[in-house]
Symmetry: C2
C-alpha cells in the first residue's frame, strides 16, 4: 500500500522541484539590496547580526554601526572581534534616549554614528553595511530621512545595506528592496515577569 | 527658545527612564525560554543565528541543528567553526524535500536530526539549542509534534530552545515563551527578478 503513496509523493516533489528551478533560472539580477527590518516584535537586530555572520562566512567585508546601543555589553561584539579584517563594529549609541535625557546630545551622537555609516556606504570595500536602530533616530527626528535616502542612492551598486528599528519611515520602505515586519505573538517579559537574559536580549 | 524645549524633553525622558526601571525591577524570573520564529517572511533563521552569536559572546554553549538545509554551503558554518568549544553546528538536512523526492528518506533524515536535538536538549551542558526549520518537518508530519512538546517539557530548566520555520503548529505556540511572526512587506525575488546572493539568502 505504501508504494503508490511514495510514487505520488515523488511525482509531486519532482513537479515542485522543476517549478522551483524555473523560478530560480528566471532570476538573474545581482545588485546591492536595501533591506529593512521593522515592526514592534523581536528579531530585527538579531536577524541583521545573522546576515552579518553569513556575510563573514562568504569572505565579505561588513560594517556595523549601532545607533542606540553601546551602554550595554552585547554578545555580538566578541564574535565580530574574532574577524577583525572583515568586520568593523561600532556601537556608537549611548543607550536609549531616556538614559541620556539630553536631546541635543542625542542628535550629536546620532550625527557621529551617521557619519560612520555614510563613510562605509561610500567605500566600495564594504560589501554590507548594517545601520542598527537607524529607524529609531529617524523617528525621533535626530536625523532627516532625506539624508539617508541620498546616501543610499549614491552608494556603489553592489553594496547591501541593512537598516533596523521599529517605525521605519514610509519613504525608506519605498526605496527598500526587501522589507520584513517582525511582529509579536507572545512575549515572556510582559506575560511572565521574565527578566532580560544573556544570549536572548543582549 | 531652545531651553524650555530641552527641559521638557529631559523631563519626559526622566519619567520614561523611571518607568522603564520600575518595569525591569519587577521582572525577576530567570528561566530557559522556548522561542519560536515563524511566519512567511524572511529573518526566521537569521535571527536565530544572531541569537547564537550573542550567546557565543556570553560564553554560552550552543547546539544548532538544521533540518532542511545542508546541500547548500552556508556562511554561518565558517563563523561557528571558529568557536569549536562553544558551538556544535549540524546541518543535517538534505536540501528541501523536492530535491530528495523520497518521503521515507526525508523521515529518516528528520529522525536523525531530531535525535541530535533531543540529545542536546537533555544535556545541561548546552545553554541554547537551535532547531532550525523544525516547523517545516512538523508541518510535513515527518515528526509528531507531541514528541517535540515532550522533549521541551523534560529539558533542564535553564536551557533556551529556538525553533524556526513557517507554519509553527498551534500546540508549539501554546507552550512557547516568545513567538515572533516575520512577515513579508517587500521582496526583491518576486518583484525585481533578483537572484539569491551570498550573505543575504545563504
Amino acid at each position: 500500500m505504501a508504494e503508490p503513496d511514495a510514487e505520488r509523493h515523488a511525482e509531486k516533489m519532482r513537479k515542485r522541484q522543476a517549478a522551483h528551478r524555473r523560478t530560480v533560472a528566471a532570476k538573474t539580477v545581482e545588485k546591492g539590496l536595501v533591506i529593512v527590518h521593522t515592526g514592534t516584535g523581536k528579531g530585527k537586530t538579531t536577524a541583521a547580526l545573522g546576515m552579518a555572520v553569513r556575510a563573514i562566512g562568504h569572505g565579505m567585508k561588513i560594517g556595523v554601526v549601532q545607533f542606540v546601543k553601546g551602554a550595554m555589553a552585547t554578545g555580538e561584539k566578541m564574535v565580530f572581534d574574532a574577524f577583525p579584517d572583515q568586520v568593523e563594529f561600532k556601537p556608537m549609541g549611548e543607550g536609549f534616549t531616556w538614559d541620556t535625557q539630553d536631546r541635543a546630545r542625542d542628535i550629536e551622537v546620532t550625527r557621529t554614528a551617521w557619519d560612520e555609516v555614510k563613510r562605509m556606504m561610500a567605500d566600495p570595500a564594504y560589501d554590507m553595511v548594517v545601520a542598527d536602530e537607524l529607524n529609531i533616530v529617524l523617528r525621533y527626528e535626530y536625523l532627516p530621512v532625506d539624508e539617508v535616502l541620498e546616501a543610499l542612492a549614491a552608494r556603489p551598486a553592489k553594496t547591501h545595506v541593512v537598516i533596523t528599528g521599529r517605525n521605519a519611515p514610509a519613504a525608506l520602505i519605498e526605496v527598500a528592496d526587501l522589507v520584513t515586519d517582525m511582529s509579536l505573538v507572545k512575549h515572556p517579559f510582559r506575560e511572565q515577569g521574565v527578566k532580560a537574559q544573556a544570549g536572548i536580549e543582549f
